[in-house]
């Protein structure tokens, strides 16, 4: 016969202080791992959501990001009319030539960061169809106007709608705000490609081409055709793969967060074990009585184990709420977290604890509960009823 679960949780309530301490320990471990885990999650979501599955990015062979690639006008002409590139209503190919530079922007607190400025032509909004102008209007070419991502407009001096924004050699008027569902385009500024090339004194006018592939076309075949063009050393990659590779910069953080989870998790297991041993010890006579009444060893083992797992699950709930609230607070406090100093582009991400970010902490707390309860529960189950009753 099994002991009812209510026996387990009533026992937990009966020893309120001790349970509270253990809950606090596990909840803190959950908060710490949740914060780190969702930081990586937020960064990955920002970058991975940036690419479109129907787009290719074309860069110079060997360039790892479009900030370090230079392409000529001739190479654009060479691939512009390749078969397989989608066309607009007038029959113009949906290929967006873009120039990327990373000038300094002044942050609100007086620092400076490298922000990605993308020089584009009107076709850009058709190719990047996930990017939408939500306020104001698109810039007019050759008039010193710029549209800025939502993240940029919040973070930098002079980047709000209607303001004069200083970067590069000139001053630009902000005429529109871009949104793209939280992706990294919201950390960018878009201006006229030709104007940007003049401002940055770039001899080769482009960094990369974004290509919308026509429906039903073999993307890899088109990419190979671009790669194999002997006149220019070009390399085409799927846009989503490109952003995936950029997000690998967060992989160092994974090592840290897994180390954190393992070390803090083992520490919490020790703490929980202590509490459960004390629980078993103080209930020796009770266990003896239960055994004498005919409850099996297995049911005693299971009962103590569920007590420990219940504690851990309750702690997880407390920690998850705490981690979520702390994440919001930190995000609000810092106005977004910047990433990628040394790649010369700053991505501003908002720290958000997504449901999927809670799976790892949940697994961790269940493990803490099981491993913390295992040895004490086994001790309780091994007790001989005669000894247990006599000792009491």
């Amino acid at each position: 016969m099994a002991l009812p679960l209510s026996y387990s949780w009533r026992s937990l309530i009966a020893r309120g202080t001790r349970t509270a301490f253990t809950v606090a320990v596990i909840a803190l471990v959950v908060i710490a791992t949740t914060l780190f885990w969702s930081l990586i999650g937020s960064l990955k979501r920002t970058l991975v959501s940036s690419g479109s599955p129907e787009n290719l990015i074309v860069m110079r062979k060997g360039a790892t990001n479009d900030g370090s690639s230079q392409l000529s006008l001739e190479s654009l002409q060479a691939i512009r009319f390749f078969e397989g590139i989608a066309r607009d209503a007038e029959g113009n190919p949906l290929i967006s030539p873009e120039l990327v530079v990373q000038p300094f922007f002044a942050t609100a607190d007086g620092g400076r960061e490298n922000v990605l400025v993308r020089g584009v032509e009107p076709v850009a909004l058709l190719v990047h169809d996930e990017v939408a102008l939500v306020e104001g209007r698109m810039f007019n070419s050759s008039s010193g106007e710029a549209v800025v991502g939502r993240g940029v407009s919040r973070r930098y001096a002079g980047a709000s709608l209607g303001s004069q924004l200083k970067f590069g050699r000139g001053t630009w008027k902000v005429v529109g705000i871009l949104e793209s569902g939280g992706s990294s385009f919201e950390s960018e500024v878009w201006v006229d490609a030709r104007e940007l090339a003049n401002d940055a004194k770039r001899t080769l006018p482009y960094s990369g081409f974004r290509v919308r592939v026509a429906p039903g076309t073999d993307m890899d075949a088109l990419a190979r055709r671009i790669d194999d063009d002997p006149r220019f050393a070009l390399e085409a990659t799927r846009e989503i793969d490109y952003y995936e590779s950029l997000s690998s910069s967060a992989n160092t953080l994974y090592i840290i967060v897994i180390g954190l989870a393992v070390l803090a998790g083992i520490g919490a297991v020790f703490g929980a074990t202590n509490t459960m041993y004390a629980a078993v010890q103080s209930r020796t006579s009770e266990i003896g009585t239960l055994r004498a009444l005919g409850f099996s060893r297995a049911s005693i083992l299971f009962s103590f184990l569920s007590e420990s797992v219940m504690t851990a699950l309750f702690a997880f709930a407390v920690g998850a709420v705490g981690g979520w609230a702390l994440g919001l607070f930190i995000s609000w406090l810092l106005g977004g977290i910047a990433f990628g100093a040394a790649t010369f582009t700053t991505n501003v991400i908002q720290l958000r604890v997504a449901p999927s970010d809670l799976l790892m902490p949940l697994a961790l707390s269940v493990l803490i509960g099981v491993f913390g309860g295992l040895a004490p529960a086994a001790r309780a189950a091994r007790m001989r009823p005669v000894d247990a009753l006599r000792k009491a």
Partner: protein
């Protein structure tokens, strides 16, 4: 002191519990030490590598905006400038698929040793650096990570230019936080010329000023000199430059510090739980001690000392564990991190961090033992004895 054996005996009464508590504290302290190396790495980088009398001059618009190479001669002529070199980002990678693993630059070898005088690079290395066209001077952190030695040949594929260059390592920057890789500008220029695309620009100019007093006037004069010129410049001290450069890491640093704080709080709870459990089990005994004449103060002190001894010893063990774990992290290929996190992933536990860890665990002992010890020492003897017996 005469109570020490008593305290130790008490800790030994439930060896399993003491061991579990100590292990939990040790692991958590190790974790705090490792987390603390990240912000500490930033501070140490700024104080060990960066100097107040070395200034950087770069295009006002940003680091990817170039300056004419001729600016170098003009900077050299400014009063107070002892030596100056140009600095061109190469973005070289051992394996382009892995990206740039350490910063690498083309510099002018003649003045290199004078500009970075404080780094104490061996004179022989500097001489070879001037002599051989393909010579490279590499920071110790990078040498150790890739298991390179002086005399080795290394090939880097640029991720910025369509160039691949082979270098011979002739010396090191003798600092365990230095990861930079320097080679001759002339080598890069020749490679460009051979590829049919000569360049005449530079990304940055570094100069050393003879006297800290003259730093500000020199920076002002340099920037005035290039006002309305081909490229307007911003000059700043090396400390300020790297402070700005890594400024965007501030958000991550804040989160790391918060997490370290949470882990510390965790230790307090683990230790307090143990202290309160052991006091609760001993109420009868404590009442007897009081009944036979031990003072409140003595009882309070011995109970508190028990918690403090446990947590301090565990904290010291944790500090040692962190030394072992960080050396593992540093030697593992992926652990050193890319340049994305910059000086945060040096993972060097400094003496200051070790000392702090032991202090933290000492205070955790006091914090966790205080209330249980106070409660036990204040409890009325008569009532306790009545309850227990």
């Amino acid at each position: 002191m005469k109570y020490l054996p008593f305290i130790l005996r008490n800790l030994g009464r439930n060896p399993l519990r003491s061991l579990l508590t100590a292990s939990a504290i040790a692991l958590a302290i190790a974790l705090v030490c490792i987390l603390r190396t990240m912000p500490a790495g930033m501070d140490a980088f700024l104080s060990a590598i960066a100097s107040n009398t070395r200034i950087s001059t770069h295009n006002e618009a940003g680091m990817v905006y170039a300056m004419p190479y001729s600016y170098l001669q003009k900077v050299r002529a400014v009063p107070g400038v002892v030596a100056a070199i140009s600095w061109q980002w190469f973005g070289g990678a051992i394996d382009p698929a892995k990206g740039v693993e350490f910063p690498n630059f083309a510099v002018d070898p003649e003045d290199f040793g004078k500009v970075y005088e404080d780094w104490k690079i061996a004179p022989q290395a500097l001489e070879d650096f001037r002599k051989y066209r393909d010579a490279a001077i590499v920071g110790r952190a990078t040498l150790e990570k890739h298991d390179w030695k002086v005399g080795d040949t290394v090939t880097l594929q640029s991720t910025v230019f369509p160039l691949q260059l082979s270098f011979r390592i002739v010396g090191e920057v003798p600092n365990e936080r230095a990861s930079q890789f320097y080679f001759q500008r002339e080598y890069l220029i020749q490679a460009f010329a051979a590829a049919g695309a000569p360049i005449d620009s530079t990304g940055m100019i570094w100069s050393r000023i003879d006297d800290p007093e003259r730093v500000a006037p020199a920076m002002k004069q340099i920037d005035e000199m290039f006002r309305n010129g081909e490229a307007e410049t911003t000059s700043e001290t090396e400390k300020s430059f790297f402070g700005n450069f890594f400024g965007s890491l501030k958000g991550i640093v804040t989160i790391i510090l918060i997490v370290a704080g949470i882990v510390t709080l965790c230790i307090v709870f683990i230790a307090a739980n143990t202290a309160s459990m052991s006091v609760r089990e001993r109420v009868g005994e404590i009442a007897i001690l009081k009944a036979i004449g031990f003072r409140k103060k003595t009882i309070f002190t011995t109970l508190l000392a028990e918690a403090v001894v446990l947590s301090t010893v565990a904290g010291a063990a944790g500090a040692l564990i962190s030394l072992g774990l960080t050396s593992l992290l540093r030697s593992s290929a992926s652990g050193g991190g890319g340049p994305q996190l910059g000086p945060l992933t040096g993972f060097i536990v400094t003496d200051a961090i070790l000392v702090q860890a032991i202090f933290i665990s000492f205070f955790i002992g006091i914090l966790s033992g205080w209330l249980p010890a106070l409660g036990a020492s204040r409890r009325s003897v008569a009532q306790t004895l009545r309850e227990v017996f």
